[in-house]
Amino acid sequence: MSAHAEAHGHAGEHHGPPTANRSSRIDATTLGMLLFIGSEAMLFGSFFAAYFFVRVVNPIAPAHWPPAPFHFPIFVAGVNTVILVTSSFTMHWALQSIKRGDRAGLKAGLVSTIALGLAFLLTQGIEYAHVGFNPGDGAFASAFFGLTGLHGAHVLIGLTLLTIAAVRAFRGHYTPEHHHGVELPGIYWHFVDVMWIVVYVTVYLL
């Protein structure tokens, strides 16, 4: 390693750092991603808290959810749930493919995951347009748009990560040994997926 660094023209004064001791079996980037997801889960937690205050704690909480003239599109969102759950499987497929060295499978898996994610966002956009109320229509709408919107933003982040992975995959990166760049967005994507199921159940079904 240090020989390598010297070859870069910093000979003498610069040498590379000594290789750090690995004091845990868990990989650093994976741990970082898991902690980040923990933090993200808490962000969702604050939105769930706001939802809970509006719907349960508030002395003037509406008796029906959503209040009288409004309805949540349970069916459309259910279809969306299926889309997102499917995308978790295609993500898994992509990862398994590269582990086997199957680059075509990796690319196909990533592309289909991205496509499903986009389909989810598109459906959600259409749902917003036809839902019949807007964020200004009361606290129930605030909670609804807050949670689904926050989730939508996370789908967008997940898609960005996946797109990066896809770009690199098409440019010939990743091998059966080294595929962190696919694995980490994958973990994030599964998190986004699980989060959606929780959002769907609490906001639409309960």
Binding site: H4, A5, H8, H10, H14, H15, G16, P17, P18, T19, A20, N21, R22, S23, S24, I26, D27, A28, T29, L31, G32, L35, F36, G38, S39, M42, L43, G45, S46, F47, A49, A50, F53, V54, V57, N58, A61, P62, P67, P135, G136, D137, G138, A139, A141, S142, A143, F145, G146, I164, V167, R168, R171, H173, Y174, T175, E177, H178, H180, G181
Partner: protein
């Protein structure tokens, strides 16, 4: 250094995301690129807003509130980070071109300009952090001087009430979000990897990004004074609905908190990963210095709690910009929701602002008494105790807020119980002093000053934890006294202790001991004269956050204001000492305190990559007085050890 990218490289290649360096000064990462990128990103943000409003036929097309939010408070900072070069490596990596070998060109500082660029060396970042945060300490302190001048007499003398409230709010926000929290992160940045026997943090580039997020937050807070309608003025707690209805300036607070919060979350992630995965061989959890334990628990608090303040500020912004009704009771909103969410972060935040200080004091007390920390394991476990209890007490800030009555007593009991792990710490420090060989150096003075002042602050916290007393004392100057005894007498004293203690390590020079002692005593006395009478005027009937008060408190407030100016002047001694010692002070040896922890076993300042070889840890960190005990073996450094023994 542990990024996945490195494992995936094929051919090494020069790393220049915007083309070869010859491309010219406009494209080179740095301040020039930062300037035009900031402007460019602002315009892009503005274009997005104006464009979409035009398309969707919304009026007015130029909605300056939304343009400010999108362009100035969101896009422009991203432009700055892009321009300064925080994302260069990642952009390159994203583009998928062949990975290049790390050449460490962004690591270390050879001359002062290296402190003004993206630098991935944890030691440089530590210095960047610490210096930046002290800058904001001065600004925040000067604001305190301004409103103390106003408060010297009853009635309104110098400011409008808007400016006064703005000064108070900004004072607290700068002190908390840009001084205490990041100053601890800065000291830990410098020290923790060294203490662990690691060559750097786990994610050096992320570390650099965390730092550069900070000045963004600071500039954003301060520029709210320029916003039309005045600065945010709803107190640092920004309670809704007041903060929702106030002028645009308060959005600078909402967004500034997001940037500062992102910075602390990223640093905390980095600390956690570093501590878990990069300890030197033999460095078990039970051999880590208590400072590392402190930062470990603090980082857990940050990662878990900080998203809640982000959430609370998002809701306020949504209510303002998207016209949602989270806190609008007429439309079904719940006003107290803000406070619950805010304090679920901000109570743990007070321990974020105290635990690292406990760590620093443990180092200083043990080294300067020449004794092992008394009850090391219980000390470490009490961090965990505070961590857990800290999440179960947030509603003690809401005893009079009108929340559910049944919450009061359980929250009171858990609040009071925090005295137990905190007391364990205090008593263990005292027992560490016992039978020691105490050296009253400046860091030790600050540490002892801290213990006595913090106990006063903690005990006034016990008064507040008792609901009936809090009902009387809440939102009075008694609270202000509590705040400053724990935050100034607590956190700031430990920061001073840490800065003096590691000054020779960081700069390679020794500070002036006499000035250090003078600084301590002047601060210690004027601090008490400033803040102790506040207990009294608070209990007697002076509410907080007022520019005018009843005449009976006039003379005491005059004393407080005068003492607070002396307190300000005492800080001048500190800065004078730091600056002159850094430039002209006597050269310090590598281990002037004779401490055992690893950072003292390398040269001062430490070598660019900390260690030539990763040391092997063979014993506890504080084995003073134990014959033949060693903390670690550094293969290549026995010579250095002998010289300075």
């Amino acid at each position: 250094m542990t990024t996945a990218a490195q494992h995936e490289h094929d051919t090494p290649q020069a790393f220049e995301p915007f083309g070869p360096r010859a491309r010219g000064f406009l494209l080179r990462a740095g301040w020039i690129r930062a300037t035009w990128c900031t402007a460019l990103f602002f315009l892009v943000g503005m274009f997005i807003v104006v464009g979409s409003r035009a398309i969707f036929d919304m009026h007015p097309v130029y909605n300056w509130t939304i343009i400010t939010l999108t362009g100035a408070l969101t896009m422009a900072p991203l432009g700055f980070l892009t321009g300064i070069g925080a994302f260069d490596y990642w952009f390159y990596w994203i583009s998928g071109r062949p990975t290049r070998e790390e050449d460490h060109s962004g690591h270390g500082a050879k001359a002062w300009p290296d402190y003004f660029r993206i630098n991935t060396d944890h030691k440089v970042i530590g210095v960047q952090y610490t210096v930046t945060t002290f800058f904001f300490f001065v600004i925040g302190g000067l604001m305190a001087m301004l409103f103390r001048a106003e408060l010297a007499q009853p009635g309104l003398q110098f400011f409008s009430s808007q400016t006064f409230n703005g000064l108070v709010s900004m004072h607290a926000v700068l002190m908390i979000f840009l001084f205490i929290i990041p100053a601890f992160a800065g000291l830990a940045n410098f020290v923790v990897p060294l203490m662990l026997g690691a060559p750097d943090m786990a994610f050096p580039r992320l570390n650099a990004l965390s730092f550069w997020l900070l000045p963004i937050a600071g500039v954003m807070f301060m520029s709210s004074f320029l916003a039309p309608g005045g600065p945010f003025a709803a107190g640092w707690t920004g309670y809704a609905p007041l903060s929702v209805d106030s002028p645009v300036g308060s959005m600078f607070f909402n967004m500034g908190v997001q940037w500062a919060g992102a910075s602390s979350i990223l640093t905390a992630l980095n600390f956690l990963v570093t501590i878990i995965t990069m300890r030197a061989p033999g460095m078990t959890f039970w051999r880590m210095p208590l400072l590392v334990w402190a930062n470990f628990t603090t980082s857990l608090l940050v990662v878990i709690a900080t998203p809640f303040i982000a959430g609370s500020q998002f809701f306020v912004m949504f209510d303002r910009v998207l016209h949602t009704s989270f806190f609008v009771p007429a439309h079904g909103g719940y006003v107290l929701g803000y406070q619950h969410i805010f304090w679920f972060y901000s109570h743990p935040a007070v321990y974020i602002m105290m635990l690292p200080g406990f760590g620093i004091v443990s180092e200083v007390v043990s080294t300067m008494s020449r004794k092992p920390i008394f009850g090391y394991r219980l000390m470490a476990l009490s961090f965990i105790g505070i961590l857990i209890l800290g999440f179960s007490v947030w509603a003690h800030h809401m005893f009079v807020a009108g929340m559910a009555d049944w919450l009061r007593v359980p929250m009171m009991i858990s609040t009071l119980l925090i005295a137990v792990p905190t007391g364990i710490k205090v008593f263990s420090w005292l027992a560490t002093l016992w039978e020691g060989k105490i050296r009253l150096t400046t860091p030790m003075l600050w540490a002892l000053g801290f213990i006595s002042m913090f106990v006063i602050g903690g005990l006034s916290g016990i008064f507040l934890g008792s609901v009936p007393i809090d009902i009387h004392a809440s939102d009075t100057y008694f609270i202000v006294a509590h705040i400053h005894y724990v935050l100034f007498g607590g956190s700031v004293f430990t920061i001073f202790a840490g800065v003096y203690y590691w000054f020779p390590k960081v700069t390679g020079r020794m500070y002036n001991e006499r000035l250090g002692q003078l600084h301590f005593w002047l601060t210690f006395v004027s601090f008490n004269v400033t803040f102790f009478p506040m207990h009294y005027i608070g209990l007697r009937g002076m509410p907080r956050r007022v520019f005018d008060y009843s005449n009976q408190f006039g003379s005491l407030n005059m004393i407080i204001s005068v003492a607070s100016f002396v307190l300000g002047v005492s800080t001048v001694i500190f800065f004078y000492n730091m600056i002159t010692s850094w430039t002209r002070g006597p050269i310090a040896s590598s281990n002037p305190w004779g401490a055992h922890t690893l950072e003292w076993q390398v040269s001062s300042p430490p070598p660019i990559f900390n260690f030539d070889e990763i040391p092997v840890v063979v014993g506890g960190p504080y084995e003073y007085g134990v014959p033949g005990a060693r903390h670690a073996i550094l293969h290549s450094a026995p010579a250095a050890e002998e010289v300075h023994a």
